[in-house]
């Protein structure tokens, strides 16, 4: 599904150059549930943006769905994003002047689906996420958890193979965070690859694979089996504080 080979990325800021990703090698299979962790500045968001073709890499090769992503025209990238990827953001990024249903239906508009049809589909997805009654509400009338569920519905509506979530629970309280994670888990159970960025251990521990970044490189990968250990280590960390 995803194959990263020696990915480098740096940002030019004025005179100085900030080397964010220093050679990332990573394989993610179809259907995995992965979290990317790391302290701020470790490059986790940058990595996710590159995966989602929102940003381009400087060096190395990136294969998504057996297709190399390199020097891609913005048109092609937009189409690929529309087909393959669904995004969930920390700040939800709903369009403020559209109601819940319209927000969810938007990706289908870019696919050229007729208004009536896409609204029906949008209602199905809202129903799935338990927000049917909120279809006509504007984003500013909803709670954070509801907004994030709208965003997830929007990410799902184009039937993507990959969901990329940048700190999806970052702006939510613990209970809502867990609800959102439950939803992501269900999505993953349907066979969709889910990759999320988080700095919260409890959130990360709900995924099946944790990639820890440190200074732009992969520090360690904690697999399914080791998660129990990870949980224990995390608890210990809490105790020492």
């Amino acid at each position: 599904m995803i194959k990263l080979n020696n990915i480098h990325k740096s940002y030019v800021m004025g005179n100085s150059k900030l080397h964010v990703l220093k050679g990332i090698n990573l394989d993610i299979e179809q259907g995995e549930f992965v979290s990317i962790m790391g302290s701020s500045g470790s490059g986790k968001s940058t990595l996710l943006n590159i995966l989602g073709m929102l940003d381009n890499h400087d060096q190395g090769s990136y294969y998504l769905n057996n297709q190399q992503i390199k020097n891609m025209s913005e048109k092609k990238a937009a189409q690929l994003r529309n087909e393959l990827v669904g995004f969930v953001f920390q700040s939800f990024n709903l369009i403020s002047f559209k109601n819940a249903m319209e927000n969810v239906a938007l990706p289908l508009y870019y696919k050229g689906v007729k208004r009536k049809k896409r609204n029906i589909i949008a209602m199905e997805y809202l129903d799935k996420l338990g927000l049917k009654d909120w279809a006509e509400h504007m984003p500013n009338e909803m709670s954070g958890g509801q907004k994030q569920r709208i965003a997830i519905a929007r990410a799902l509506i184009s039937k993507p193979k990959l969901i990329l979530a940048d700190e999806p629970t970052g702006a939510l309280d613990t209970t809502t965070s867990y609800e959102v994670m439950e939803i992501l888990k269900e999505i993953n159970n349907d066979g969709i690859t889910v990759i999320l960025v988080t700095h919260e251990h409890d959130i990360a521990s709900m995924t099946k694979k944790i990639i820890r970044l440190k200074d732009g490189q992969i520090h360690e990968i904690i697999r399914n089996g080791d998660l129990t250990n990870f949980r224990e280590a995390y608890t210990k960390e809490l105790e020492t504080i």
């Binding site: 943006n49 989602g52 929102l54 940003d55 913005e74 048109k75 937009a78 189409q79 994003r81 529309n82 087909e83 669904g86 995004f87 953001f89 990024n93 709903l94 369009i95 403020s96 002047f97 559209k98 319209e102 938007l106 990706p107 508009y109 870019y110 696919k111 007729k114 208004r115 929007r154 990410a155 184009s158």
Partner: protein, 420 residues
């Protein structure tokens, strides 16, 4: 198409004030253009209509005191044209098509006209039938003076409409009645209604026209002639003929050839040329100012679109993250801009034309009440209006394109990160 339209409409509807402000600049631009072009056109129609029916290749001349001594005569001499001059011009200057001499009864001041117990003060003019060829008029009742009136020196007259109003009560029929003018009775044979509003020695409405020959005899004018209206032969310029006639007249009356004061004259052809230049100037000015205003409106739209795009950078980032291609985004922004400018332009056009129509109605009723109005039918033709709208649509597209280009040059991720 409908899909896109809905999308545009919802985006604009959710940002009412912004959309309104954007539209207002364009509205104002086209509104001003229409009003100014219409007013310019109205002025032109008003003035050309006023002189419109007067023979274009004609001129008028009259006598004034000489300003130079010549052949033993002192300067400041009073003189008049005479009947022989008319014969001379008719026979010796083939470039002249018609000569219409005229007498003014300037001595007849005060209440010069009497009918029963009514009396009035009017301009008395002695004319040849040819005068009507130079300054055409309508005759709602009766007729104009004719050859027989001239030959037989008949005591008949043609009167203006104001004369009828003052000398007759409403239900009286003026034709066939008599007026006593300067002690002589004349029978009314016609009522004159002017077509132009160019007046020689008093308004036509307030004038009484006598046969030229009758007037010469009745009031002791001898063979004096006060004024001549002359038209040039077909295809000749009035200016050239004017020069020739005036120099011949000067020679006959022993006036210095370089005396510019002795013969007063006005050349209709020259007047027309001046009007043409004036209207050309007015319309150029109108267009420069109008297009300037319009351009300012369009730049305003572009400017506001730029702000809008900046304001909506994050929204655009979201759209791109969920799969909007650059083309879709550009199309969206341009259509919003075109939609706004077109709607605003249409309203500007509509209200501009509406106001012109209103002004037209007002002017017409004012004209019917007898006001002196030099603006008539302020209007703008359809071609101009439609091309204005077309220019607007095109400039709307341009106004949207630059901000749209800026919008997609930002990387999606940077767009997403933009804080509002």
């Amino acid at each position: 198409m409908i899909e896109r339209f809905n999308e545009i409409l919802s985006a604009l509807k959710k940002n009412k004030l912004r959309s309104f402000l954007t539209a207002f600049g364009v509205f104002w631009g086209i509104f001003m253009l229409i009003i100014m072009a219409g007013a310019g056109k109205g002025l032109e129609t008003g003035i050309t209509d006023g002189v419109g029916k007067i023979a274009v290749n004609s001129f008028f001349m009259w006598t004034q005191r000489t300003s130079k001594p010549y052949e033993g005569f002192r300067r400041g001499r009073n003189w008049d044209f005479n009947n022989e001059d008319i014969e001379y011009i008719r026979n010796h200057i083939p470039e002249v098509k018609t000569v219409a001499p005229r007498l003014f009864g300037s001595w007849l001041s005060g209440n010069n006209t009497i009918r029963g117990d009514r009396s009035g003060s009017f301009n008395i003019k002695g004319d040849y039938p040819e005068w009507a060829n130079i300054d055409p008029a309508e005759f709602p009742k009766g007729r104009w003076l004719n050859e027989i009136d001239i030959k037989q020196r008949r005591k008949v007259c043609v009167v203006g409409e104001k004369v009828v109003d003052e000398m007759f009560s409403k239900d009286e029929e003026p034709l066939g009645e008599y007026l006593k003018i300067g002690g002589v009775f004349y029978q009314i044979v016609g009522v004159i209604h002017p077509v132009s509003n160019m007046n020689m020695n008093g308004k036509t409405d307030e004038s009484i026209f006598l046969p030229f020959t009758t007037m010469q005899i009745a009031y002791n004018y001898g063979n004096d002639v006060h004024m001549m209206g002359i038209t040039a032969a077909e295809g000749l310029s009035a200016s050239a003929v004017e020069e020739k006639v005036i120099s011949a007249i000067k020679k006959r009356h022993k006036i210095a050839p370089d005396d510019v004061q002795a013969v007063g004259h006005i050349n209709i052809e020259k007047q027309f040329k001046q009007f043409a230049t004036l209207f050309g100037g007015i319309s150029i000015l109108t267009w420069i100012v109008g297009i300037g205003t319009l351009l300012a409106g369009v730049i305003g739209v572009s400017n506001i679109m730029l702000v809008i795009v900046k304001e909506r950078t994050q929204e655009i980032g979201i759209m791109r993250a969920i799969g909007a291609t650059p083309r879709v985004i550009i199309a969206q922004i341009i259509s919003e801009s075109v939609f706004l400018t077109t709607i605003a332009g249409y309203f500007g056009l509509f209200f501009g034309i509406f106001l012109l129509e209103l002004a037209n109605k007002g002017l017409e009723s004012a004209a019917e009440n007898g006001a002196d109005i030099f603006i008539k039918n302020p209007e703008i033709n359809l071609t101009v209006a439609v091309s204005c709208l077309l220019i607007l649509i095109i400039s709307g597209a341009f106004a949207g394109y630059i901000p749209a280009r800026r919008a997609i040059q930002i990387k999606p991720i940077d767009a997403l990160r933009t804080e509002n």
